[in-house]
Every structure is written in C-alpha cells, then in structure tokens.
C-alpha cells in the first residue's frame, strides 16, 4: 500500500488549509501533483484511490480530474520526459525539426518511451515560451532555444545523471 511520508502529509494539510472548511476538494490538483511526483511519475488507480481517501471524496471525482488535465500521466513514463512544444509560434522557429531529431536520436515516436525506460518523448501545446522557441519542458524546468547540438548535450547529460544515480 502506498502512503505519503509525514513530511508530505504536512504539505497535504497545508494545502487543504488554504480553502474554506469543507472545501478540501479544492486541494485536488496540487495533491495530485504531489502524488505524481512521489509515486513514480504517474498516477496509478491505486494512487488515485489513495488521493480520494485523503481528501474524503469519491474515487470517480479524482479520475475525472486526472483524465482531464494533460500534466497527469496515466501510464508510466521515462525517467526523463521531453515535452516539446509543437504549436504555431514554436513551429515558426523549427520545432518540427527538433521533434523529428529527438525521435530519430532516441528511436522513439512522440508518446513513446525508450526501452531502457530513460526517455519519454511527448509533444505538447504552447507552454508560454514562444519567444524562446523551439523549447521543451523537462521536469520542473524549461529548456529553451533548442538546437540539435543542445538536444545532444541534454541527452548526454541525462545519461550521465542516470548512470551516476545507479
């Protein structure tokens, strides 16, 4: 059975306290973010049921939300997720090429994960970085002004970090 640590439970309580009495459901989005970060980068039905029990709401209320928002992953993803923006303003600056290049370099298509479980490539829509295009999100941060060389360097950096952590 999964469970938040005491420290994470303190965070959950802090989140709930921001809303009026009885409106703890309002904490659903932030608590789902916390759960996704904590339990392997995606939301299993076990994780979602756990979140429902914490917020005293029905599991269906959690599924409804988890399936609506694009940042919640409903299946396992790679250790590093490259979320490359493909919307118009990025396209004007070559995002199509970047997506193609990452796909070729890692031998995966958008939506897929490499066999070693290290990388997932995902195409996303405008992330509010149109002036820094082409760009992608990697975890909590943005990587901007991408070039093929930069992509190579990022992949190498991820591989080094993964090797160092093993």
């Amino acid at each position: 059975m999964i469970q938040f640590s005491d420290e994470k439970m303190t965070e959950v309580r802090r989140l709930i306290a921001r809303y009026p009495e009885g409106k703890q459901k309002s904490a659903l989005l932030p608590v789902l973010h916390l759960a996704q970060e904590t339990f392997g980068g995606w939301l299993s039905s076990e994780t979602m049921d756990y979140v429902a029990s914490l917020l005293q709401i029905e599991p269906i209320e959690v599924y409804e939300v988890a399936t609506f928002y694009s940042m919640y992953n409903l299946k396992p993803v790679g250790k590093y997720m490259f979320e490359v923006c493909q919307t118009g303003p990025c396209m004007l600056n070559g995002s199509d090429d970047i997506i193609k290049y990452i796909g070729e370099t890692l031998s995966i298509k958008p939506g897929e994960t490499t066999a070693d479980g290290l990388f997932t490539l995902k195409t996303v829509e405008c992330l509010g970085a149109c002036g820094y295009a082409p760009m992608m999100q990697m975890g909590k941060h943005y990587r901007e002004h991408l070039t093929k060389e930069k992509v190579d360097a990022i992949i190498a950096e991820c591989r080094r970090n993964a090797a160092a952590n093993n």
Binding site: P30, M71, Y72, Q86, T87, M91, D96, C126, G128, Y132
Partner: protein, 450 residues
C-alpha cells in the same frame, strides 16, 4: 523611449527579492491604498481607464464595481496566471522577475474588493514560478504586508498559489473557478456571473496578472495621471510578448503611442525581420485573434498608420482588422506557411476544447482534420469552403468563447490567404515534400526584456 510603469525597475539587480524591491519604492502603493477607503481605490482604478489585460479588454474598475456584497458572505479575488494563449508569455516574465509587483497589486486589489483570501491560479507548467511566488509571499508576510491586521487597519489578507495541471480552457474565468474547486475545467453557463456566484458560490473577481500589477502604478500615480499615458481609451502601458520571425523576441512594455511598424522594425523593440527576409503577416494579439497580411497590418484599410492601441488594432473589424487580445505578437516572415500555422492552431483548439458543446467539440476536430489534409497535400478545393462553413457554425454557438477563439484564426487565414490554401490543393506533391527546418534560426538569439 516610451513610458514604462511596470518593467521600469525590471533591470535592477536583485529586484526579485523583497529588500531590493522595497528599497526601490516597493509597497508604497499598499501604504497609500490602505489609508484610503476601499471604494476610493476602486474609484482610482475607474479613473485610470485600465482595461483587462487578459484578452477581452473589459474596464477593470467597472468589473470591480459589479461585485456583489451580500452580508456575511466572503468575497474572493482570483488572479488569472494561466497564460496559455499561444504567443503569450508576458505574465510569466512579470512573475519571474518582479514577483513583488504582482503581490503588491494583489494586496491593494484585495483591499479594494474585500478579499481576505486571494488566489493566484497559475498554469501547472510554470512550476518553478510557483516557488518564486511563494517566496515573495513569505517575504511580504514576514514584513507585515500580508497576514492578520495589515498596517493596523484590521484587514486580514492571505495570498495562496494554486497550480493548474495543463489545460488552456482553465484560463476562461469560469473554467478557472471550477478548476480551483478541484474539478475538470468545464466553463459554466453565464449568468450567474462570477461577480455574483464565483468560487464556492461566493462573489468573485477574476483578473489577469498584468491587470493586477498595473494597479500599483495606478495607485502610486493616481488614476488621472495613469490615464494620461497612452491615447484615447487605450490608457496606460501594455506588455507585448513578441515572437516568431523577429530579431529580438521578448517582452516589451509599450505605452500605446507607437505604430505597429515602429514596434516591428525599431531596434528598441523587435528589431526587424532576421536574415533580410520580408514581413509576410502577423497575429498581433495571441493565437485567437485574426491574422493580418503585412499591408493591412501596417496600414488600416483607410490607409492610416496602424497603431499599437486597442482601437487601431481592431480598426476595420474582422474584415480588415484584428485585436490587441492578450498582446501575444506573432510575426511571420515571407517563407512561412499560413496553412501550416493555422493547422497547428486548429490542433491546439481541438486539444483544448473541454468537449461540453458539440459545435466546439466536433467543429474543432473537423477543422483540424481538414487543415491537416490540405497542409499535407490531400485536400480538395471544396474543403476550403467546408472549413469556412464549419468555423461559421461554431462562432457564437457555444457556452464559452473558446469556440470563437478556434473559429476566428481559421476564418482570417482563409479571408486573407485563400490563395495559399488553393496552392496546397493544386500542388499536392510539393505540399507533401516541403520541409521545415531550423533554417536560419539555430543561433542563440538575444532575448530581450523591457
């Protein structure tokens, strides 16, 4: 140099932190406003002529005066930091670099509206900005600007940062409210308006980040002084996020007295089109507003110089004009393909439709499919008319304006660039073979600020 009142201090080293911000005149607006009657603060905002910077341009003071005040029911101010309209990245800049300006604006506005618990709803992808805002809030609280009994006025105020999770529709104010309540971002049917029944059925005002930041100079200068910046009903300054094929993409504060031509070509702003290319077209106010070809962009149909103001950008209506919108300024050089760009936007709106109303849910899907066919060389001439027909059936027939926002870019692209659609139909093989590259933009371009 145009007048700046939002980003004038953005270059100061360390302005992100409280001490530096305070030393440079920060929180003076809170000191001033909390000595005023809340109604007097609303009055200053009315006098300023400030119009909502989120896209619709609705007068802020008027919006504030609509808020219902039933006895014993708490009211809430919600700051819309969802910023997801393609081409728009100005609020991000403000929050990232001068977060205290927003916090200060929020305290003043919360006082004016009587909101003891104010929420910033920020798009989930701006995860690192959440930390920056939380830090600024903690600093403000430690210095007595937030919390209980601020400046001995008896006013309590807390600001909370709520992270979204990836959904453009949550920028629409009623969808945002649903999301804040922990639900799917399905827009509500209006009325009732949020001013009467908003978050948790309480009276609520939703305003954009830039709108709320602008309250700070309005209080500092006084509404009348602020209104002297700009022209006509375009008072004050506007942040423009400029992107696409320009030499200096970035966030610029303009005082709404400059022309579009100056904005694109002057070194103070976009710096012109790189690589000696010509200007082809521009979407001046975020992806939802009509695209304009270069000739109609620089000069109105009446032959007048087009200015960077609400009125001038919309001069000519949708037939020959566009809109200020969110200030997301997307520039196309002569090599760009309008059909391809429109296809990416259609895909965007299909992806972001919440699916509640059939014209939007089905229509955005159809538009994406047809545009994809045309772009990739399997379209028919009749598809162009079909597209026109579909967009017309969406517009005005939906619960929220996302339907219109999806229809307008398609309509404008066909209106002004029909020949390009026809070229695709007539040249299917070339359409398929065309290759989009990093072309000439692989260099690390200067990103400009201010």
């Amino acid at each position: 140099m145009g007048r700046k009142v939002l980003l004038d201090k953005a270059h100061i080293e360390g302005i992100r932190y409280y001490d530096v911000y305070r030393k440079n005149g920060g929180y003076a607006a809170v000191e001033k406003a909390l000595k005023m009657d809340p109604a007097a603060v609303v009055e200053e905002v009315k006098k300023s002529g400030l119009r909502g910077r989120g896209g619709a341009g609705f007068p802020t003071g008027m919006k504030w005066s609509f808020i219902a005040k039933p006895e014993g029911v708490p009211r809430h101010l919600v700051c819309n930091a969802d910023e997801s309209e393609p081409g728009t990245f100005k609020d991000r800049y403000l929050m990232e670099f001068i977060p205290h300006l927003l916090i200060e604006g929020l305290i003043v506005s919360s006082w004016a509206l009587g909101s003891n618990n104010t929420y910033i709803y920020i798009r989930g992808e701006y995860a690192w900005i959440v930390d920056i805002l939380e830090q600024a809030i903690t600093e403000a609280k430690n210095n007595g600007w937030l919390g209980k009994n601020i400046m001995n006025t008896g006013f309590d105020c807390e600001i909370h940062v709520q992270r979204g999770a990836g959904a453009y529709i949550c920028g629409e104010e009623t969808a945002l409210i649903e999301s804040l309540e922990g639900k799917r971002g399905n827009p509500r049917i209006k009325p009732p308006f949020p001013a009467v029944k908003g978050v948790w059925d309480r009276p609520t005002v939703v305003n954009n980040v830039e709108t709320l930041a602008a309250v700070v100079p309005i209080i500092n200068l006084g509404g009348e002084e602020y209104a002297k910046i700009g022209v006509g009903k375009s008072t004050g300054t506007k942040l423009i996020s400029a992107c696409g094929n320009i030499k200096k993409p970035g966030v610029y504060e303009i005082d709404m007295t400059i022309s579009v031509e100056e904005f694109i070509y002057s070194d103070e702003y976009c710096g012109g089109i790189p690589n000696g290319k010509k200007l082809k077209a521009c979407i001046p106010g975020g992806s939802s507003v009509p695209i304009l070809p270069a000739n109609l962009l620089l000069k109105t149909a009446k032959g007048e110089q087009r200015m960077m103001t609400y009125e001038s950008l919309s001069d000519g209506g949708f037939a020959t004009g566009s809109m200020m919108g969110s200030g997301g300024f997307i520039v196309f050089d002569e090599d760009q393909c309008v059909v391809r760009h429109t296809y990416t936007l259609a895909r965007f709106y299909r992806h972001e439709s919440c699916g509640q109303c059939s014209p939007c849910r089905e229509g955005t899907g159809w538009m994406e499919k047809i545009l994809k066919n045309i772009e990739y060389g399997s379209g028919k001439m009749s598809d162009i008319d079909l597209l026109w027909d579909i967009q017309r059936r969406i517009e005005g027939n939906t619960i929220c304006p996302l339907g219109d926002a999806a229809a307008w870019p398609v309509a404008a692209a066909i209106r002004h660039f029909r020949d390009e659609f026809e070229w695709h139909v007539n040249n299917p093989e070339e359409s398929q073979r065309r290759n989009y590259g990093l072309a000439h933009y692989a260099d690390e371009r200067q990103v400009v600020v201010g």
